[in-house]
């Protein structure tokens, strides 16, 4: 291939600016950096009091994670700023100002090795506490309290087993001990290492209460243990964190922490025997309606029918995932339908959620009263649950689920029936 020899020629390319690039370009490069910094500043102003804020830990394990996390964020942030700084500098300093073709350098081994060594050392430094953190977070032995947690589309069930020594979640019940089954809000004592044993009845869910710990997947066919330890009484918000279908967004939960005395009171209340409503009241009618309309899926412990037989629910016959929330003491918790709606009116809810650590326990134990009940959402739910919370795409076509529903079906209840049920349910405490 012949080489065509030309006279010494400076490079000139038609489309390249031959005069030095204007200050407009410099300004726009600096603009880029400014956007970056501005964004950083703005992003620093976030929500105050976001209930699931992972940077505002309130429990031991969340705090451990945060202690590991924020220095690493700082390092990452500093590295980022250095990179932006260097790029900004380079882009300003070496822009085309009509200089000749630069040195055609191919590299510099020293720079390469230094910039491999630096990140390697940094990462090695990060790796050590990381591994330690992994091991310590996974230590679920020596629990003070064990709760069996089961996720299913689209709510959480809590089963407090009776331990060999007769305690339930570390508390000795005053009366006769029996397993306690609740849903939505998991009540635990403060300063106790609470270990959940979690699984699922259908698809993979994930149990996540950010202020107390990271998340752990709840996988059908497997049992995963995970720790929680609250330091203060209060209510801690959480959400299912593994995509689980239509109402994944409506599958929430809360962990409620009570001090030792309040927790004892809660346990004892949960174990109180069933009390039928007073004869002749709307609530008594509601009890009948409940038996006929609801009890085939929803269990209320101690409920007896007209013949005095205990009513035992059989949700596995009607619901694809096999269970429905136990409503025995519904009004001792203040959310329902997968913690998606409040049982309390707005003001009452705020009072409970915003209560200080000293007042919280007493307020929570009051439960829901006639005066503080959020009738609107509860009645809408009873009227037509699937339209309030998406639960299956085609309620007419239950072929693929063997005729079983997913979640609560539309029951075509009359307004009277709904009023009766509300009157009955408000007494479930």
């Amino acid at each position: 291939m012949n080489r065509l020899v030309k006279q010494h020629q400076k490079v000139s390319i038609d489309l390249m600016p031959t005069e030095p690039t204007t200050s407009r370009s410099t300004r726009s490069r600096l603009c880029n950096a400014a956007i970056g910094l501005g964004a950083a500043t703005v992003l620093a102003s976030c929500a105050s009091d976001a209930p699931q804020d992972t940077w505002a830990p309130e429990g031991k394990y969340a705090q451990d994670i945060h202690n590991l996390q924020w220095p690493i964020f700082m390092i990452a942030g500093i590295v980022g700023l250095i990179v932006f700084g260097v790029i900004t500098f380079v882009v300003v300093k070496f822009r085309d100002r009509g200089q000749p073709i630069p040195e055609q350098g191919h590299g510099n081994a020293l720079i390469e090795y230094v910039f491999i060594a630096i990140p390697a050392l940094l990462l090695a430094g990060i790796a050590v506490p990381t591994v330690a953190g992994v091991i310590s977070l996974n230590d679920t032995d020596d629990a003070d309290c064990v709760v069996n947690v089961t996720g299913q589309q689209w709510w959480w069930e809590y089963d407090y087993p009776v331990e060999a020594d007769g305690t339930i979640c570390g508390a000795q019940p005053t009366g006769e001990a029996a397993p306690i089954i609740t849903s939505g809000q998991m009540v635990i004592p403060v300063d106790a290492k609470v270990v959940i044993r979690g699984t699922s009845r259908d698809v993979i869910h994930s149990f996540w209460v950010p202020k107390l710990n990271g998340k752990r997947d709840m996988v059908p066919g497997r049992v995963h243990t995970w720790n929680f330890q609250a330091e203060q009484p209060g209510i801690y918000a959480g959400q299912c964190a593994e995509f689980c279908g239509l109402s994944h967004a409506n599958m929430r939960m809360e962990i409620v922490a009570l001090d030792k005395g309040d927790f004892q009171a809660w346990i004892d209340n949960q174990l109180e025997p069933y009390q039928s409503p007073e004869a002749g009241t709307l609530a008594a009618k509601g009890e009948e309606t409940f038996i006929s309309q609801c009890s085939r899926c929803h269990q209320v412990d101690g409920l007896t029918d007209a013949d005095g037989e205990l009513v035992v629910s059989a949700p596995e016959q009607f619901v694809w995932s096999g269970a429905a929330p136990n409503l025995t003491n519904l009004m001792t918790r203040n959310t329902f339908a997968g913690a998606s709606w409040d049982l309390l009116t707005e003001d009452a809810r705020e009072a409970v959620w915003e209560a200080s650590a000293d007042e919280f326990g007493a307020l929570y134990l009051e439960g829901v009263t006639k005066g503080t009940l959020n009738e609107i959402d509860l009645k809408e739910w009873l009227r037509d649950a699937p339209s309030k919370k998406p639960m299956y795409t085609d309620p007419e076509n239950l072929e693929d689920t063997d005729g079983k529903t997913r979640g609560m079906p539309y029951l075509a209840l009359s307004e009277d029936q709904i009023d009766e049920l509300v009157a009955y349910l408000i007494e479930r405490k």
């Binding site: 291939m1 929500a47 590991l68 380079v90 822009r95 990462l123 977070l137 993979i204 995509f243 689920t401």
Partner: protein, 664 residues
């Protein structure tokens, strides 16, 4: 309007081959018109088609994204119901990953790898065409689900058992699985083709370490595809058998382990993300040196780090599963491995920065996109390091913080790189430049839009907003003006700005195509061999296959070092125009190109037939298989070049004979 210059007429080949095909129809030998596109086996035409279809799907995926952001602009949105939303985010991700980024990389690879290595086509041109049609038919098949009962709704990661029939009864997931099998065939055949091309068809003198860096990155990507696609193939078959033939691979009651799907998917899925990013790394590694007027800093280490990323990338898949109950030892191991992979990635950032250092920087639109990638990808990479720390990841995973991370690396990395490549190589492919002023508007609007959309997601994620939620609600969004509700609105506005930015690209394309000025042969004073061609290149690419003596061979053809010892003084000794003229004067005399064929498109057509059969009527499966079998026979029995009898009227005598060393 023909975008490609009409090639010189092909003369009768002097190698006699079996005279006729066994096809029913005459072999398509047209060199102009729609038939020349439908039956082409020319890597350049295929590259353009890959690019055009990919950009179309980019708009589809973008539209899906805008609907998502509309739904999430405020709390308790009602634009999309839960079911539609689940379909929308599943298809948005699937479309962007499989129908945009991957085929766009294939577009660049198909067009430029042969040119960069001094070859006249890929090793197996008909297989190349087959791959393209598989991609197109697979993408169309996948999207017909929208009107055939609903699209897939299990997320692009399609976890079991949520992907089983009781939890997702429409055929959407079947469309998804089968569609991806079809596009997977495109990726696999493309991988084999490009690896053989790069290994076996380089110009004389081009050792592997003199090969352009883009081709190197593509080579690594093809190896990743070669080994990753079979794994997801297995997963998709298991899912298909589960859903359609009552197998129980993911039925927990029968004893199945849902984590099997996760492992299979992520063993594919993690190399997949390197498949998505490395081509853009390659593009940027080409663009930065050209517009810095100096070579890539540390070329061997950039090559090596690309290979290292490809290799180590196989060992980190379970970092997508840190919360899934793997056990502390696995989690710890994968956590450390994930940190390790940050090192070769960091090397690239250093090398790109050092390429700019001491250069003579020219800020064309392509260069802006390339520098944009460095900045944006760094953000994404650093957030990635924060989730390599497994305990932190248990707070971050499945939140918008992860969504922010991967959009920064995918949009800020892969897509900005793609746009850098589009602006850089457009004049070579189409003979016209894209307008620089519109280009800058395109760039800045996209940068502003991108950061407004995905920047706030870091915050809302860390503050507790999980992903894959069809609504967010005031109760979980916190107090204060700058709460989660506010940042979601900002993200949504940003998304529309980003959409406008993308639109500006297409406006630029239309406006630039209306202009009549032809681009110079070498508008950027580039460095690698694909620029030693006409714009667009002739059908046979090079009149003379160059003998390569250096990395950045094209630069060394134009510039001679007149300095002494350590002092270098590069002076221009030739322009691109002169080099091309010289080539034309010494053009090779015997250039045979393989002829177009319809077997690739016929064979590709058989696949969606079989796929529809699986969903609707099993009789279609053997019918499709029969078409496939017949096509494979027709294909094997067809000679590489058309016989004189295929031309009508008969082929002209004389003219340069074109010869090429290809098979397939």
């Amino acid at each position: 309007m023909a975008l490609i210059e009409k090639p010189a007429p092909i003369a009768v080949p002097d190698v006699a081959t079996p005279s006729s095909s066994y096809g029913v129809f005459r072999r398509p030998v047209e060199s102009t018109g729609w038939k020349s596109w439908l039956f082409t086996i020319d890597h350049k035409k295929l590259g353009i088609m890959y690019g055009a279809v990919a950009l179309f799907f980019f708009l589809v995926g973008g539209f899906e994204a805008l609907l998502i952001r509309l739904q999430l602009a405020g709390p308790d949105g009602t634009i999309l119901d839960a079911d539609k939303y689940n379909q929308m985010f599943t298809m948005h991700a699937t479309t962007m990953v499989f129908l945009f980024v991957m085929p766009m990389a294939a577009a660049f690879a198909n067009y430029f790898v042969p040119l960069q290595i001094g070859a006249r086509d890929v090793a197996f041109p008909r297989i190349n065409a087959f791959g393209f049609w598989c991609f197109l038919f697979g993408g169309i098949f996948l999207n017909t689900s929208w009107i055939l009962g609903g699209a897939a709704d299990g997320g692009w990661f399609m976890y079991a058992p949520n992907s089983s029939v009781p939890f997702s009864p429409t055929s959407g997931i079947d469309f998804w699985g089968l569609g991806l099998q079809i596009t997977g065939i495109a990726s696999l055949t493309g991988a084999i083709n490009l690896i053989v091309t790069v290994i076996n068809m380089r110009a004389p003198g081009m050792s592997l370490m003199k090969m352009p860096i883009f081709t190197w990155m593509i080579l690594v990507v093809q190896f990743l595809l070669l080994f990753a696609i079979p794994v997801i193939t297995v997963a998709l078959f298991l899912l298909m058998f589960q859903r359609n033939f009552d197998a129980t691979f993911f039925t927990v009651e029968a004893g199945a382990d849902p984590l099997l799907w996760q492992h299979l998917f992520w063993i594919f899925g993690h190399p997949e993300v390197y498949i998505l990013i490395l081509p853009s790394f390659g593009i940027v590694s080409e663009v930065l040196p050209v517009f810095s007027r100096k070579p890539l800093f540390g070329y061997p280490l950039v090559v090596f780090s690309g290979a290292a990323i490809g290799f180590v990338g196989w060992g980190v898949w379970a970092h997508h599963m840190f919360a899934s109950g793997l056990g502390p030892i696995s989690v710890a191991v994968f956590s450390v491995a994930t940190m390790a992979i940050a090192i070769p990635t960091g090397v690239k950032i250093v090398n790109w920065t050092m390429t700019l250092w001491g250069g003579k920087l020219i800020f064309t639109t392509s260069m802006l996109f390339a520098i944009g990638l460095i900045v944006q990808f760094t953000i994404g990479g650093l957030s990635g390091v924060t989730h390599a720390v497994a305990p932190s990841d248990t707070q971050q995973t499945d939140t918008y913080y992860i969504v922010a991370h991967f959009h920064y690396v995918l949009f800020g990395g892969a897509i900005l790189g793609i746009f850098a490549g589009l602006y850089y190589w457009w004049p070579k492919v189409f003979g016209k430049l894209l307008d620089e002023k519109w280009g800058k508007w395109n760039f800045w609007t996209m940068i502003v839009g991108m950061n407004l959309t995905f920047g706030p997601m870091h915050v809302v994620g860390l503050q507790g907003q999980p992903r894959r939620m069809y609504v967010h609600t005031a109760a979980r969004n916190g107090e204060g003006f700058f709460n989660i509700t506010f940042w979601n609105l900002v993200s949504s506005i940003g998304a529309f700005i980003l959409g406008i930015g993308v639109l500006l690209f297409f406006i630029n394309v239309v406006i630039s195509s209306r202009r009549s000025e032809k681009a110079p042969l070498d508008p950027w004073d580039a460095r690698s061999l694909e620029w030693l061609t006409t714009s667009p290149p002739k059908e046979h690419n090079f009149d003379v296959i160059p003998t390569v003596g250096h990395l950045d061979e094209f630069f060394h053809l134009k510039y001679e070092d007149r300095g002494e010892g350590d002092h270098h003084d590069f002076q221009q000794v030739a322009t691109a125009e002169e080099l091309i003229a010289e080539q034309e004067a010494n053009a090779d005399e015997h250039i045979h190109l393989p002829s177009p064929s319809y077997w690739p498109i016929v064979l590709a057509f058989a696949l969606p037939v079989m796929a529809y059969g699986v969903i609707y009527n099993l009789l279609l499966v053997p019918a499709g298989a029969a078409i496939a079998l017949a096509s494979m026979f027709g294909w094997s029995l067809e000679p590489h070049t058309a016989s004189p009898a295929d031309y009508d009227p008969p082929a002209p005598e004389g003219g340069a004979e074109l010869e090429v060393s290809t098979n397939g």
